[in-house]
Symmetry: C2
Subunit: 553 residues, 2 copies
């Protein structure tokens, strides 16, 4: 069993992408899973709600799985926990905020019997062959951790999502001493956050936002409405501080914002002076300049609080001139257009809108190039795996490591499913396991596959033309129809001529089939598709999905 | 006819959006149309190829239309000319490059009998009540012009798309003297480009790109492949200069790139030394380091040259390690994800990829805030209309003007269809004309409307379930079916149970209809929709389009 003296690290998600982070650590008969995240669907994944990692490898090795350990409470690290625990119920370790946010999701998804094991930064736990330590990090959510895995072949350090914030809002400095200490003791592998590997310099501190925020609070004449990621508790804390200073009450709107604020307050991650938080209904008892509204929608999500306000469609808030709206988050790539529309609509309603492009109100939660260098220099790993990034970010991160002297052959720019195999002295890619994107659509997990998505893509661009043909079972002659029904192709009422001629062409084709003694359905359907496809493309330049349905009576 | 002493300016496109620029200038019995552009479809306009302005107002006033005048040759300024001229054939004035690019499109769209009237920057023409002058501008395409309209009530200056490039690549400085002269003589209205009104400082010169490009050419060991907008002739010229210096031959790939390069060379806008341009087939006669490939795809467009190369799917170029790919254009909002994918794929194939985020290889073609101030100060207008921008850009631009002393009531942050009415002393919004988005889908112009788009949206997210029911004409009883066909909802082969139960529920509903003597089709269809909709939502959490089709034989 030579295999047993080797450490395997297998990313099931999070490489070549931002999202659905999940990594398998395996030594002998023990597996520990680091994070269980989700990804949001890409544009072409039509109708899909969420994407989660394919966990076939874990199901095949379910007896070995000891636990899940969480770096922090963001969706891309905890969002597939419900689906994982339904299959493999093992204890989940993480800081209280991460577990609090995870539990919210577990309840929503009606998972029962879960075991949540709170740890603190600085704690070390033993799980099978692994001694696992949680290192205080800094990120855009409190108590984000880096982790180390002490294994029989050496130590692995995983940074988690991090930046090196010298002035964190909660006062908890990233534990650079621990990273340094591990570096001194000798680290076999470093896995480090590549999100901002393309970005020169240093990432700004959350504290910088505080000053920008305060300026806006100082100048605001009416209500202040701030939208940010619900999970960005530090940003919310700063807004609450400013509200406190300028004597505003705080109203929290939007389900996820309410949830996070409640959890963070309950667990002591968010300070809110007594009596400061009020309900939406109480707002009318205060003047506009006494109000701060915290809401979701910083990404222009159509159903979010801010989008509803922007389209004058919110239950409890109508935007009016005098309102100051702070959008305190950068648009995630792909969301720029919806964010822009939200801003435009808010401006049209007369609000002052402060957004990143004109304010610099946002700083990233991820380390830029100089911080990544510092981390590499602190930890001084023998092997390096850039993680948490799209391919070009991993690639840039690998160049940084090379520039600092990590030998090129010791750097693995890998992809999901790669089996990274380590001994005390060696590291290599030793094969691949099955990985993939599992689509969650409504209640269905994995039931929407590529065929359905391809159909949706064609339907979305060209629509569908349904051709119903009723044949006499005995004689095979046309009893009724062909009936043509269009959805998303043309509006039939405006296209009478086109549809009539299309119907004629189908009739002629059917007569040809009849006289040619062609009776099998697939040949008849093929004929209909060909004749119609050609005609419609000629006339309209489009290729709707043509769906012949043959009924025999 | 008091109306006749007033100047009307009516934007039919280009306000509240980047795209489909078209503005009506009307005085008495004379209309001149400034630009005739298209817009690219937004995400939710599924399957739409192009969007053009609604020209109802022009059709209603066709006898008054004297001409179209063009600022420059970009699609968002010339792309709907074909559709306009098919309806209203009037002469088109513009610089030779703008007309050359426009003509290409007119031929493609089989427009005949058009009259193209070349002018030079500095020329002035008389069209009805208007004296119209073309002012040399600077932008990301040569001979982009600003225009002035001398009218009986005063002068209107329209900047066109511009920046103030002090070192333009073609040596043609923007004619700041003319803008100053007009300012001295007195300007009634300034209409100025708002694209970068959110951007502080000055926009970089195209010349800055030249230096960055040269660095890349100097370092490149193998082929250089540059992707940019086909219309960015200056950028292409710089690449050709660098190629020349480093003794590379030039291969042009991609239909639009080939077209523009040919037109620009023919009209003298692009210098290409004799023998330097070679065909794709000739590439094999040269070593890699002797080749520059110019291609399209800087926006990650799926069918473009660069995207095909990135997916190893190009007819004449396979990417290999050693290739240097320069992506010399910023992603347009909404295209970030596809550009990122292209970069990732090229890196995976081993190419060096130089893109904006890590190189600063792109500069914008539009003036930033300081340049916008300079323009306002040069022209010193009585009234100001920020144009060419989304609402928040117009709004920012209006604040700039206010800051420079233009009275707030003399600034019009308007929208498409507004009738801006001016006399010698007054300006106001005097009503609205019909405007809108006309969708071009394949060969159809305007035949895809909101109903079709809504259907496509539902189809794209949830798919369709077709229920065919065959009834006996006399007795109204079920002869066959119900037959269920799914496209984009579930893959039927994997969902047997769901479909069987769905079929049963429809049967029961039909029996209920029969026993209840419900025979009208719309009631039966409603029943089917309700029963199925409820069942499927319960089981899958989704709401496919349910399309009952009743056949009577």
């Amino acid at each position: 069993m030579e295999q047993n003296n080797k450490l395997l690290i297998i990313p099931l998600g999070g490489l070549g992408e931002i999202g659905k982070n999940m990594t398998v650590f395996q030594y002998g008969e023990d597996i520990v899973i680091l994070d269980a995240g989700l990804a949001f669907p890409e544009d072409e994944m039509l109708g899909i709600d969420l994407v989660i990692p394919d966990i076939t490898y874990l199901l095949d090795n379910r007896d070995k799985v000891r636990a899940v350990v969480l770096t922090h409470g963001h969706e891309d690290h905890i969002g597939s926990l419900s689906y994982l625990l339904k299959e493999i119920n093992v204890p989940v370790y993480g800081t209280r905020l991460a577990l609090g946010l995870a539990e919210e999701r577990l309840k929503e998804n009606r998972v029962s019997g879960y075991q949540l094991m709170p740890v603190r930064p600085g704690d070390q736990i033993t799980l099978g062959a692994f001694q696992i330590g949680f290192i205080q990090g800094s990120h855009s959510i409190p108590d984000a951790c880096g982790l180390y895995f002490k294994t029989p072949v050496g130590t692995v350090v995983h940074t988690g999502d991090f930046k090196i914030d010298q002035t964190p809002v909660d006062g908890k400095l990233i534990d650079i001493h621990k990273f340094a200490e591990l570096g001194n003791q000798g680290v076999l592998v470093l896995m480090s956050d590549s999100t901002n590997a393309e970005r020169p310099g240093y990432t700004g501190s959350e504290r910088e936002v505080a000053m920008a925020l305060e300026e806006e609070f100082k100048d605001a004449k009416g209500r202040v409405i701030m939208a940010t990621f619900a999970s960005n508790v530090s940003r919310i804390q700063q807004a609450v501080h400013s509200a406190c200073k300028y004597r505003r009450k705080v109203v929290v709107l939007g389900r996820s914002m309410v949830n996070v604020v409640n959890i963070a307050m309950e667990l002591g991650y968010l300070e809110m002076p007594e009596g400061m938080l009020i309900e939406a209904e109480e707002m009318k008892r205060y003047r506009d300049e006494q109000i701060l509204i915290l809401t979701t929608g910083s990404q222009g999500e159509p159903m979010s609080g801010l989008s509803r306000m922007a389209t004058n469609n919110h239950r409890s808030v109508s935007i009016s001139p005098g309102d100051t709206v702070l959008i305190a988050a950068t648009p995630i790539p792909g969301n720029e257009t919806s964010v822009s529309k939200t801003i435009d609509n808010l401006l049209r309603l007369g609000a002052q809108v402060v957004y990143e492009r004109i304010s610099g109100i946002h700083v990233s939660g991820h380390a830029s190039r100089e911080e990544l260098k510092l981390m590499l220099n602190l930890v001084r790993p023998k092997f390096f795996i850039p993680v948490h990034g799209e391919y070009r970010m991993q690639k840039q991160h690998s160049k940084i490591a090379e520039g600092l002297g990590v030998p090129r052959e010791n750097i693995f720019v890998g992809e999901n499913g790669d089996i990274f195999e380590f001994t005390k002295d060696t590291g290599r890619v030793a094969g691949k396991v099955k990985v993939g994107k599992v689509f969650v659509d409504g209640l269905g997990v994995g039931d929407v596959g590529n065929i359905v998505i391809r159909d949706r893509q064609q339907l979305s661009k060209e629509g569908i033309l349904i051709v119903v043909v009723t044949l006499d079972k005995q004689k095979g002659v046309l009893l009724s129809g062909p009936d043509l029904v269009s959805r998303g192709f043309v509006y039939v009422r405006d296209s009478g001529e086109l549809m009539n001629e299309a119907q004629n062409r189908v009739k002629v084709a059917l007569e040809r089939c009849e006289s040619g003694k062609i009776t099998d359905w697939s040949s008849i359907k093929l004929q209909i598709r060909e004749v119609l496809g050609k005609y419609l493309n000629e006339k309209t330049g489009r290729r709707p999905m043509i769906l012949p349905i043959i009924i025999e009576v």
